[in-house]
Amino acid sequence: MNGTLCDLRGVDKSFGDNRVLKQLNLSLPAGSVTVLMGANGAGKSTLVKILSGVHALDAGSISLLGKDFRPSSPSEAIRAGVVTVHQNINDGVIPDLDVASNLLIDRLAEPGYGFFLKRKQNYAVAERIASQMGLSLNVRQSVAELGVADRQLIAIARAMAHDPQLLILDEPTSSLSASEAERLFLLIERLSAKGVAVLYISHRMSDIRRIADRIVSMRDGEISGVFEGDALDYEGAVNAMLGHRMTDADITIGAPGKNVLVINDLRLLPESKPFDFDLAENEIVAVTGLLGSGKSAFAQSLFGLGRPASGQIRIDGQDFAPTNPQAAIKGGVFMSSKDRANNAVVADFDITRNITLPFLSRYSSLSFVKRSDERRTANEMIEALSIVCQGESDSIGTLSGGNQQKVMLARWLAEECRLLLLDEPFQGVDIRARRDIGRKIRETAKNRATLVFVSELDEALEVADRIIVMAEHTVTAEFRNENVDLNEILIAVTGAVPTDIGNAARTAHA
C-alpha cells in the first residue's frame, strides 16, 4: 500500500523561454489516489504529457517501480504501465468505429495481432472489458451514436484494459453525470485497492472530497503543497494552488452605470427553470458552471447562435432577439468565442487582418479596404494590449497562444459595443498573458456591460465584479467578488448542496 510506485526527481521542462516545470519533485505511492490541483498554466498538463510519453523532460529523472522511466512515445509509456486518459474526449475515441473496436484499438495496432480482424473474439473480449467497467453498452454499436458521457467512459475503459500501474485521469468527470461519475469512482477504488497508483487531475471539489487519498497542489511549475492524512486540508490545498487567499485578486468593484442587459424569465430549454438577470455599464460579471450547465447555451442565445425557449432579453430597453451573429453585432453585442483555433483565428491572415475582420466595412470606402486605416488600428491595439510581435503584418501563426488570444480580444475591443461576451478568454493562455488580458478587460469596461464565461473559478475571481453560477440551464447562485469563500462557490458549481446566496436563484412563477 505504501511503496512508492513512481518517483519524479528534479524534473525540468521548458518550451522556448517559458520554463514550465522547475525542479519538480513528486512521488506517487502505489494503491492511493493522488489528486493534482493547479491553476491554468501551472504545468499540470506538461507534467501529464511527460509521464505519458508525449514530451521528453529536459533535466531530472523519473523512476517507475524502481526502474528508470523515460518513455519516448505514448505507446512506450503504455507498455511500461503508465496509462493516461486525456481531457479531450474526442482524442480518445474514433466515432466511426463500433464500441468493440474502440475498446481494442491499441491491440489492433500491436504487431502480433495478425492481418485479419478476429471479429468474434474481439466482441467477446470487448464485452468482458465493458462488463468489468460496469458499462451496459452494445459493443457492436457505433461510437458516433453515443453521447459524450459514454464516449468518456469508453476512453477510460480502454485505459483500464491495459492493466495500468499508474493511471492518469485528466478531468475525467467533466462530462459525466453524478451516477456515471460514481461508477468511475468505484472503479478507481477497486484499482487502487489492487495497488495501482492513480493521478487524478480535477477542480471539482466534490470529486476531490470523494476520491482523494492525498492532494498535491501545483503552482508555476513547482509543487506548492502536499496534503496527506485522514483529514485533508482542502482549503489549504486551494490556497497553495493559487498562491494567495481568494480575495487577494485586486478587484475594486466600480459603481455600475445604467442597466444595459435586462433579462426576464429566460428559459434556455423548455424544461429548465426561468431566470432573471441584470447587467449594467461598467460591470463585469463572470458566468461559471460545469460542462452542460447551460453556460454555452446562455452565451449563444445572446449572440444569435441559438434561441432561448422563452423569456425576454432587452438591451438598452430594446427587445433583443438576434437570429445570427450578424444581427447580434449590429445590435451592439460582440462575442469573443472560446476555442480560438477553431472559432476565431484566421490562420492565413496577419495580425492586422485578424483584428479588422468583423468591422471591415469601417475601413472601406466603396468596398475598397483602406490599408493604412486598418494598420493604424492594428498598431493601436498591439500597443494597448502589449501584444508581443515584430509588427502588425506578422502572420498570426507566429505568435504564442497568449498573444493570439490578445489579438482575438483586440478584434472585439477595436470597436465600441454595448455588451461584450467573452467565452473562455483565458483558454490556453499563460499566467502573465492572463493577467494582461484580465486587466485590459477591466480597464475598457467603463462604457459597456461585460459577461465573461469561464469554467475555472480563479479566472472568474481575477476578472469579475460579480460571479454567477449556472447549473441545469439556469442561474443557481450569485456572488459579489468581495471576500468570497471559494468553497461556497465550488459547492454551488458542483451542486453538492443547493445554495440560495444572492438574489439570482428565484423560484419559477410560470
Binding site: 450578424q326 472559432n343 492565413d348 475582420l357 468583423p358 466595412s361 479596404v369
Partner: protein, 356 residues
Amino acid sequence: MSIDQTDTPNTATPGVHKPQPKSGNAIDFAIRYGFLALLVGLVIFFSVFANGFAGPRSAVFIFQSVAITGILALGVTCTLVVGGFDLSIGSVATSSMMLAAYMMVVLEQPAFVAIIACLAMGAVIGLINGLLIVKTKVPDLLATLGMMFLLVGLQRIPTEGRSIAMGMTLPDGSTAEGTFSPLFLQLGRHRFDFMLENLLPAPVLFLIAIGILVWVFLELTRHGRLMYAIGSNERAASLTGTNVNKYKIMAYMISGVLASIGGMLLAARLGRGDIASGTNLLLDAVAAALIGFAVLGAAKPNAFGTSMGALFVGILLQGLTMMNAPYYTQDFIKGLVLVIALVFTFSLSARKAGGH
C-alpha cells in the same frame, strides 16, 4: 512582365529578415520566385530548341489557348478562395458555347440576346451549385461533379447530340436558317495590333480585363478579404458576422459567369457549337489555378498566380507541340508540372511556416 518579376528579388529580399540563416533566405527566394524563374527558363529553352517558337505566330497560338482556360481558371480561383471547388466549369463553358450557337443559328436571335442568355445561364448554374452546397450541404466536389454530368447531357438534348453549324439539318428535318452575327465572331477572332500586326487575339484582352477585375476584387475589396477569411476558417468568419453562405454562393456565381464567357469566346472562335471541343478545358483551368498557388510563394489561390499558371500551361503545350512531342505526352507533362508545382507550394511553404 515575368522578366520584371525575376529581377526584383535582388533588391527586395536582403535585410528583411536578417536573423534568418542563409539557407532560410535561399528557401524564401525559391518559394517566391522559383516558379516565375521556371517560366522564363521554359521560354528560353523552347526559343533555343523549338524551331519557330520565338515568333509572333506561335505567340498568337499561345495567347489564344491561354485566354479561354485562363478565364475559366479565374472562376475556379474564386471558388478555391472560399474553400470550395468548381468541377462544372468545363461543362458550363461548353453548354454556353452550345447555347450561343443554338440561340443564333436555330432560334435566329441577335448576338446581344445570345450573350445575355449565356451569361444568365452561367449565373443560374452558379446559383444552383451554390445553393446545393450551402443549403443542401452536398460537398462541393460532389455537387459540381453532379452538375457537370447534368450539363454534359443537357447540352446535347436540343440537337439530339449533333454539333450546331450554320445551315445544319434540325431534328425535325428542316434546315437551320440563322447565322452567327459577324460581330459575335469578332469577339473570338479579331486580332489587335500590339507591337506587331495582328498579335493580340480579342480573347486575350478579355482575359487581361477579367484578370485585373478578379485581382482587384480579391485583393483590394473587403468582399475579397472576407472570402479569403471564409476559405481559411469558415467558422471564425461566421462568428465575426460574415454572411458565409452569401459569399460562397457569390463565388460559384462568379465561376459560372466566367465559364459562360469562356464558352462564348470558344463559340466565336470556332464559329459553331462543337460538341467535341472543350474536353480539356476543366483540367487545364484547374491546373492553372493550382499552379497559381506556387507563384510568388502565395500558397493560396490568387488571380495573378492563376493567370501566370495559365500562361505557363499554354507555353508548355505550344513548345511541346513545336518540338513535335506526340499529343499523348502532353497530358502527362501537364500532370507532372502540376504535381511539381503542388510540391513546391505545400512542402516548401510548410517548411517555411515550421521554421520560425
